[in-house]
Symmetry: D2
Subunit: 374 residues, 4 copies
């Protein structure tokens, strides 16, 4: 790509924003040119804005702060004007997103990790290979067409394309090949979520999580249930009446927090429409997303799903970085017969701050570029 | 009790055996008079047998080694003769149990935490208030009658009464009030199990469990599924043909290991036969076991199940010691509609080495004493 | 004590304040009658003030919130008037303490865990048996006489008596018997401090401390070094010119944070004035504080220092609750010869939120009551 | 290197042996051609020998098992004949090393992580830049000449060159530039050691290390003290009378185990001969080993020591992989005045299974190749 797209990151000093900055370092198609953050950070060099009152560098994205970002001046998100940008990645909190993102989307596409707009009927929650890009033959399975509808309806030059909750990401990736090959009747899921998903202000404190499990994450279960049905749904209607019809799929979740740094683990039980032999499910998963992979997008991993035969896998510490954190690792694939006539159960690990957040959003952006939508 | 029963603990130096020794300290009905262990420990004072090669005391049951046990000589389990004993608590591994326990049961009752005999048709897996003692009005729900059948069939003066797997214990305690009041159609459970459940030779090593989840515990899921159906089953047949008829209840589990010291957490999803409003389930749970509690057995807690309204509970570190580790703590009680027409889902914490092992076995023994069966 | 002293706790909702509330429950001499907290908490029942925005009870002091405190109305610390009180325990942050504590001390004694006044020349940092109550025969070793000087000089009816930093507490308790018996020439100490020492707003976050060590705690090392010299110093001068002369003892520390919930571990290396055979040091430590213990104060443990022979002790999880969290547990006592001609080195564990904070402050208060100073 | 040296790894299935196998993958100078292990592993493919009884792959060296090793047949270490080999890396336990290593050294050089021969007078403990290769101008500072003496005295064609204990490694690397520039009078060190240092059979178990510190590691402190004096010593004598004269440096250590996976943290206090201003120490450390680095050896990092200005560094999780795990990261450099007239104190992190074990041994081997000694 001769001219890289000019990119800004909104909410650049938080854990999620740092992941965007890290993921953009050296990106062949995207050039990070501006950063925005809170009033407190505004006016400071990025490297300085990352320090706390005691001078400690609060960098949570691994390695060093990328050189191309370290010296950028952080702008105030509340007065940030998107002139000259091709795309904004937003990593602000939901409440801030509600006012900041539409203001930017008036002028420029916004790809976001915030939940603020996820549940609006003209806003798709895009996951490559699941409901974006090559994603099966079911009519209406590709939700990217909704972006044009959103644009027209709202009179925006840009759009808002939020990614899913980080717990939803691994789940829909693992469910999609089962849905396509065997049909899905019910899904039960219990998550064991990493601390990085809660951010750092204050996030999960040591006093709560050492030698402990927290059995509740506010609003998380509703998000996963609703998003899963929406992402696996289809577009219906015509023209400007095009809208998302969620899949009528019962999904029930319990979401817990565990003393793990990165990588969400999920125990999934599925009832399928048709018999789903374990070997056939494994093959459907292993080959899932081959069309997407074939595009050679910069952030795409060698495979979207990897299935382990070792019964002790996946483990978050060992598997979260598979495919650069972009591969969903599945294991313990077994028949599930308590939930319905047919089915499978399994465990998955998905990197919540990579495929489940910033890097996943980059893959969405790359897919949209490939499709000419960006 | 004027004359306390004379008790031995088999496998006294392991983590489970230590829990028996700790639980028996100062017990009003039971007097610990003998200890048996491996050949390596045999002939040494208990306190010395607990030391490793570097002289470190390997005591995992909290507080100090009870004075009444510290000086007892550990005998060799393989040549241990039960003369003069009223009861043996066995905490040996399944393989050792297979040969040692029947030899003792020939002469004396054996209450065991080993799985070796759990699945034999004339062996009940007793859980007070669930299938022992006052345990509802369903015919055949009390399995203790099977002990006499076992005795006659095997020609033993004693019997073998194993407790359930530590993960089964909390599950059946929480399910029983639901079953009695609303009927049960399906159960899905994901466990987050503490490290103490794996013992110490070697148990779970730090290199595996720090910042990690292990998604597999060999044979655990089959045990929980089978035992739940058996414990919630009923006695059928007459006379010597009396036998256990497991409940035709689909139960499906995924069992994981988490970086928690004590206390198993379980996320449970139930489909019920009849509507099960959350408030009614809460009441059924809170009042569960009142008849048993009323007996005032030494090891019984003030209530068998405690239901939290705080959505962040139960947590293993905060709740494992409720009722001295004998209360199953439930929280996050919510309607479950993905699994069937009616149902509830919830999270429970149960202390795996107390109610789920040694102290639970003591409560069984006390119940049998109360019933005149010991 | 026929009439219990009427007590208030300032800063009652924080981790340290909660420890005061827990420690005062059922106290035979002290009656908790009022609570004060931040503006945010003011006007709410204590139990409600402990809940966060999501309704979760943020109680970190173990067990349940004491019944006598649950219904007390939290008053605003900034307008709190001490009329009718006999004593205030203050657990506010240093900055708030600087203005709030003198206002109260004008009328009533204040015993504090804050550092605000620790370093003023007329303010003693009292540690029972070290520089308060029976504390050896060295002239000026008992610093309690400074309270009257402080009172006169400042024109207060009350006084401010801060306890030491939680890391200093265990150190001075272990050093004092060595000092008295063998003299001290130099002290080197590295601490491995628990997360509870950092409180909860935000305290230490999971993302920082899981699988990690934080090698720096702001201002901690200076505090420990300065306080140790002050506490082990002596009173000099006469009449109103009485003042504290710190001991000319070189003390050098490195303070680190470790993934432990409660209990500070310290590796201490001492050069002594005279030969200090390990057995003699052990005896000096074991018998240390016998005069204080003999007084039978409500919060005093059976012994102030316990010395382990097991080389694997002390461990924070196993030893922090020794003596109800009031005993300093020492182990690994060995000769130290690299630091000087004679010496010992050892490891200690001290409960940072019990002896090192609220319960230690209660023991100070009880000592002052016994001495007629309160 | 046209012809790579033919290498075997002894003890290839343990944690330390796996690190050798991982470090040799794709090495430009060394070709892994044979593996030896215990009788239990002998005769199995390496990949199979790494599985436990339940089929779980027990691989602790990160990433995947290298393809060039996976299919090698593991030979029985007790009957292993070194014909055709150029070098053996040994990772067996000390006891096994005592008999196995001399048998191999008769024919071929052995570079070992075992402690068996470290303390013999004709055996150097080599650390590049400290006492091997370019290592300052002090006469006798380079200990590699001792290898020829060892060879002659023992009549071996090979030699045994053990690396230091993993805790010694970081310490001597940090001390050497201080010694060279300012002289060293005394050293006090407290270590906070990672779990991987204890291996996996059983290593440190979760029940011991979660929410805990273990204040004792058998024989560790003596090793660190003795090895430090030996490594910083000098060669004395002539011809076959050449021998190691340990430095007369008082070193005193307390070694603890902490809940960290990899990376030893050490708090070091040094008294120096001459004034050692912090800035000058920093410069001496940063430039340390420049001559070695300039050689471009395959395993050498960009710098041997990195000094952080951020007071919150080094942290083991963030810094253990600096320079591919080969850089010792120092921080918290401060004046030390309690220990003597002049001095510095600091905290260091050193990767115990990389620079402190296998990869450090590879760097020794590369240095010896460069020097023509291999």
């Amino acid at each position: 790509m001769a001219n890289r797209l000019r990119i800004a990151v909104l909410g650049a000093t938080g854990v999620a924003g740092q992941q965007f900055v890290a993921a953009l370092a050296g990106h062949p198609w995207f050039e990070l040119v501006r950063l925005a953050g809170s009033e407190r950070s505004a006016g400071r060099r990025y490297l300085e804005a990352l320090r706390d009152a005691d001078g400690a560098l609060r960098w949570f994205a691994g390695g060093e702060v990328p050189a191309e970002a370290a010296d950028l001046l952080v702008e105030d998100a509340h007065t940030f004007a998107p002139a000259g940008l091709d795309l904004v990645f937003s990593a602000v909190e939901a409440e801030a997103a509600r006012t900041l993102e539409p203001r930017l989307a008036l002028h420029v596409p916004v790809i976001s990790t915030a939940s603020a707009f996820r549940y609006e009927p003209d806003v798709p929650i895009l996951v490559p290979a699941v409901n974006l890009g090559p994603c099966g033959n079911e009519p209406g399975a590709d939700h990217s067409a909704l972006l044009a509808v959103q644009r027209r309806r709202r009179g925006w030059r840009g759009f808002i394309a939020p990614g899913p909750n980080c717990t939803t990401t691994g789940l829909v990736l693992a469910l999609k090949p089962i849905l396509d090959s065997f049909g899905l009747r019910r899904v039960i899921m219990t998550s064991l979520q990493a601390c990085s998903g809660a951010g750092r202000s204050p996030g999960v404190i040591g006093l709560d999580i050492l030698d402990n499990i927290i059995p509740f994450i506010p609003r998380e279960e509703e998000k996963v249930e609703t998003e899963t049905r929406k992402i696996l749904g289809r577009l219906g209607g015509d023209g400007d009446a095009v809208h998302l019809v969620p899949r009528a799929l019962p999904v029930s979740c319990t979401c817990t927090r565990v003393p793990v740094l990165d990588g969400h683990t999920e125990a999934v039980f599925c009832a399928t429409e048709r018999p789903a032999p374990v070997e056939a499910v494994r093959e459907a998963m292993q080959s899932f997303g081959a069309d997407l992979i074939a595009l050679g997008l910069p952030s795409a991993p060698p495979r979207l799903i990897e299935v382990h035969q070792d019964p002790y896998r996946p483990q978050p510490r060992l598997d979260r970085d598979a495919g650069g954190g972009m591969t969903t690792v599945v294991g313990r694939l077994r028949p599930e017969t308590a939930l319905g006539d047919h089915g499978v159960k399994f465990v998955l690990v998905s990197h919540n701050t990579k495929m489940g957040a910033a890097r996943g959003a980059l893959l969405v952006a790359e897919s949209l570029v490939h499709r000419g939508l960006l």
